[in-house]
Symmetry: C5
Subunit: 297 residues, 5 copies
Amino acid sequence: MVVSLEDRGLSTGKLTRLRRMLHLHGAQDGTVLLLPYDHGLEHGPRDFAANPRSGDPAYVLDLAVEGGFNGVVFQIGHARRYYGAVAGRIPLVVKLNGKTEIPPDDEPLSPLNATVEEAVSLGADAVGYTLYVGSPRQSEDFAAFRRVREDCERFGMPLIVWAYPRGSAITRRGGRDSFYAVDYAARVAAELGADVVKVNWPSAEHSPLVPEEYRREVPPQEQLPRVVASACRALVLLSGGDHTDGDVLAERARAACDAGALGLIFGRNFLKRERADALALANRLHKVLSESLTPAP
Amino acid sequence: MVVSLEDRGLSTGKLTRLRRMLHLHGAQDGTVLLLPYDHGLEHGPRDFAANPRSGDPAYVLDLAVEGGFNGVVFQIGHARRYYGAVAGRIPLVVKLNGKTEIPPDDEPLSPLNATVEEAVSLGADAVGYTLYVGSPRQSEDFAAFRRVREDCERFGMPLIVWAYPRGSAITRRGGRDSFYAVDYAARVAAELGADVVKVNWPSAEHSPLVPEEYRREVPPQEQLPRVVASACRALVLLSGGDHTDGDVLAERARAACDAGALGLIFGRNFLKRERADALALANRLHKVLSESLTPAP
Amino acid sequence: MVVSLEDRGLSTGKLTRLRRMLHLHGAQDGTVLLLPYDHGLEHGPRDFAANPRSGDPAYVLDLAVEGGFNGVVFQIGHARRYYGAVAGRIPLVVKLNGKTEIPPDDEPLSPLNATVEEAVSLGADAVGYTLYVGSPRQSEDFAAFRRVREDCERFGMPLIVWAYPRGSAITRRGGRDSFYAVDYAARVAAELGADVVKVNWPSAEHSPLVPEEYRREVPPQEQLPRVVASACRALVLLSGGDHTDGDVLAERARAACDAGALGLIFGRNFLKRERADALALANRLHKVLSESLTPAP
Amino acid sequence: MVVSLEDRGLSTGKLTRLRRMLHLHGAQDGTVLLLPYDHGLEHGPRDFAANPRSGDPAYVLDLAVEGGFNGVVFQIGHARRYYGAVAGRIPLVVKLNGKTEIPPDDEPLSPLNATVEEAVSLGADAVGYTLYVGSPRQSEDFAAFRRVREDCERFGMPLIVWAYPRGSAITRRGGRDSFYAVDYAARVAAELGADVVKVNWPSAEHSPLVPEEYRREVPPQEQLPRVVASACRALVLLSGGDHTDGDVLAERARAACDAGALGLIFGRNFLKRERADALALANRLHKVLSESLTPAP
Amino acid sequence: MVVSLEDRGLSTGKLTRLRRMLHLHGAQDGTVLLLPYDHGLEHGPRDFAANPRSGDPAYVLDLAVEGGFNGVVFQIGHARRYYGAVAGRIPLVVKLNGKTEIPPDDEPLSPLNATVEEAVSLGADAVGYTLYVGSPRQSEDFAAFRRVREDCERFGMPLIVWAYPRGSAITRRGGRDSFYAVDYAARVAAELGADVVKVNWPSAEHSPLVPEEYRREVPPQEQLPRVVASACRALVLLSGGDHTDGDVLAERARAACDAGALGLIFGRNFLKRERADALALANRLHKVLSESLTPAP
């Protein structure tokens, strides 16, 4: 399915940056494969244990360029110290907020570590913001998000929202990975003005704690299209989650394309593979994405 | 009953926008029927289960135009991405704050997701703000409301207040839908400077927990006029609540008009009906509203 | 006792406005009788049950004009919508903060609903601020008060402080109506820079929980003069509290004058009486106040 | 011991004001005797019970002038209403923060009631700030202090810090009056940039809860010099605490001078004495201070 | 190992100041030995008990100059009052935040006591900020850090981060001194944009509470290089901790150099030694550092 950028209410500046990311980089055909790299902050260096080289941002940048990614996602520290070497060769997404996993996660809030203006100054083509949908601290979260969104409007900067259901309240309603939670999170991002929404794969497990309307089980292949619909005109990127088998990932990529998602944003699946495997996986996913543009007859 | 906009202390800009909404749109006779559409944020996509098409803001906009509504209420995300297609054909109300229903509701607070200035820039004719009357976080709520109200004065933007009694304290005093709670909430909105107050229908059930002055049961037909009186010179809109029978709604519309309310703001009753039924309901309510202008002899 | 405005460190602007209130309105002889009207916010419409007409701000304004009051106290909503009709005929006091009585009152805080600047723009002759003396949230309260006071200095606007002991801590020290609590509250307002302090009548009941220095019972007639002394050069207004017998009120008015108070600020005693009774009471109190200027030989 | 103002890193403006306070007022010989008067806020009028006249700021000002004090310390309310009468005849210290004693004291924080700029506008020669060392709310306290300190740098205004160990945490470490607590508090004020530190007399009682380094008992006469040393180049003023025998106070004054303190800041010992006694005490303390400039051979 | 300042994404201003610190001061060969001195605030004067002279900032400055340190770290109070005497002779690092150890440490936050701008005005060559990695108050901490970092970018001021795992959450995950905690903290500082990271020596003890990836014991000599790697292009300084044997310190210094650290920042090991011993230790450590530039063949 060809996902168009038109008719989404995007300003000229946002279109400019998104088209650059989609058509001048990666497969250059409008598909998207992004490499997020903020695990050192969110999980700590333990995420680099499977493949110690992945702890080095220079390695990751090189992997992203070689693998033909449409962009790399860095926190401000790495963006300032590493991105210069490949500036202009691969788009930069500055992840504006982020936190450690050390404190309890029942009332999560992801503090801002950089501004949209700083991302502009570094030549970034998008910024990222994690919204902890359902957190008891949502009033602080939404307030910070609003200011980021306003700055994005002002600077014509695409805003990618990590729409993550989290906190004790969502646990009591069936958990963060339920179709209900993912669907709701996508919608919240859309209602609040995200340009792009990053969602997780809904879990196959079904919880009886979800609201009534979600108690009827929805077949997996129907879930993703509904999440994409819930995101309205916001573009959708699928997360990869933790290390997963390549066939499963390819299948998910296909399902994401079929569902109308813009593309993929896979981190640990590339970081935890050896370089050659990671590049092979990138290649394979690029193929799936590009094939989706001309659906089988 | 003809509800006049005069002598309500409204500035020129507010009058301009309200008259446009009342006399150039909808029935064009001074009555009001608004279509609110922030359920995706407040309740999540579960509210679209009864009628999946209602999950699409484009469908809702089309319904609002076809149904001759006086305006549609959107959160900022939808306002930015969808309203452009019908800009100027139907008034836009930007709902400035909003939250999910996931966290516990004992100390609710609805964070700001957009500003009055942004609503102005989109050509909106009014803004909406949810005030959780009685919430233990009222000091934060009132403070945010004050700034919104000041901006509304500055820009001549009508301010519609969702006056919602909520939180553990109102539960201990008889519940959020008691006549006491609805009456108090309308008053609070008026005292704090709302131009328009959206109130819920008081519940028919009577609780012994309300303050002494409300312990004597008030006949249903007397409740609404008293709520309208409590709102002083602020205009009153009646909510529709969840899906309800058409006859009941028509009766409520009539009662609202008799009580001196300006009009109706019904969401789920249109969203949860199929398109044809929704349009028929809109038609029916328009009739009730217009008939109210020339009361039976 | 003639209470002078001189030698109280009042700026020219404050003197201008206070003299206008004292000598061009009401009895025009320097005495003060104010009609506060924020009960709809603080207590809800239940305070209007005894006399339903009192729920209408227009009725109250008319009563204030007819009764020869020196001013009427409104929250910003009513000030904006109703005061215009009598602008200049009776002074306006804008009550800047206020809250509902719904949430628990153990840590009260009264949020700001308007600014001094807005009061200036409406032609107000004074502003009011409720200080919850002893509340665990006093750091927020004092901070908000400071900014209001600074604005009052800037604009030459008299600042009337509702000095109310409240919260769980004062309950543990003998209660909010003890002589100790009232005396301390008056002092706090003076130390923090109030121009006028509104205090409640100390309760006749004596609690053993007050600090040692207050354990010796002080005769009622000695309490008020001491409270006035504790207020230093801030002017003192006595509250009326809930509906009370006219003789008692007249006696209190006399006691207040003897104690050196500037005047009275009685709300419910006028609102809960029928119009004629209310006007008669106003007349009676005016007499007591004026007689106090020439004490019996 | 002659305490020099040189080599303390004081700006020209601070030196100007401090020298004025030390050499143009009081004994005019570089010694300091200050009269603090914020008891009405901090403790309430109960502190005036022993000598009711002390409740009147005019009495206190007169006492300060007659007693040859180097300055009087007022909250902003009294500073605005009373200081004008003696402006320029005795230095004014505006106490910028302060609170009531009503709420629990386990997490104390003293809110700002005035600004350095306002103190400048009143002709003050110094400002005071209470720092509750060890309070769980130290992050708010330090933040407010920083802004005050920066304003003091900007205006050349001497900053006197009431360095008070307070809160549940210091109670668990041996109490607020332990040598440990007083010593630490003096140091904190110095590290954070106080110009002058007001410390309490360490208690003679010894608690086993203090940190190891303080468990060895330090003779009383060694404690004060160590506190003065801990204050580094910040000048030290000794508090008087509650009403105490004159001989004890004179002895303490002598000890303070021997220890290198700049002088004394005694409130209740003057307020709770009758006027004549208070003036006699002032006279006696002046003598002790002045004699200290020429130590016995 | 020669640690280069190139290719670290440092601005011209930061390079200027860091090169001055590394090549015009101390051993002038690119190695670093810093003397931190904020113990009076962080621990109180108890840290000076072992060597009372160390309580005097003038003594410490003299020690730093004599010992050929590359800089001294002061809180703002000492920086303002003491640094002037040696201004330009030894670099100044202003520690911007700091707190007492009195309140409970389960949710630590270190408030800002000075600004980058003030450090600039004093001629400082770097600023320090303590980041309590893992504290439940990380959202406040990160927010304050972000503003400091932005100011550092604006002024070209090197930013040294005290990356300290602290709080109840890290205790539950194996403790603040575990290799896991130190490694994670270094990474967080790098991700958030530190120029230099100060880390503690990982403890030799191994806790079973650390995350799975850290449960395999890592030999001590492998830990430090991994921490340096986790810090990416941020420079690393090793802390000295409490008083330790000189041989151990020399060994650690060697290990730090081998691991690629920039140098050492030892406080108590100099403060708690007599002056002669302290100077001897400085001499010894300088030698170890300089030798590291030409590794043994």
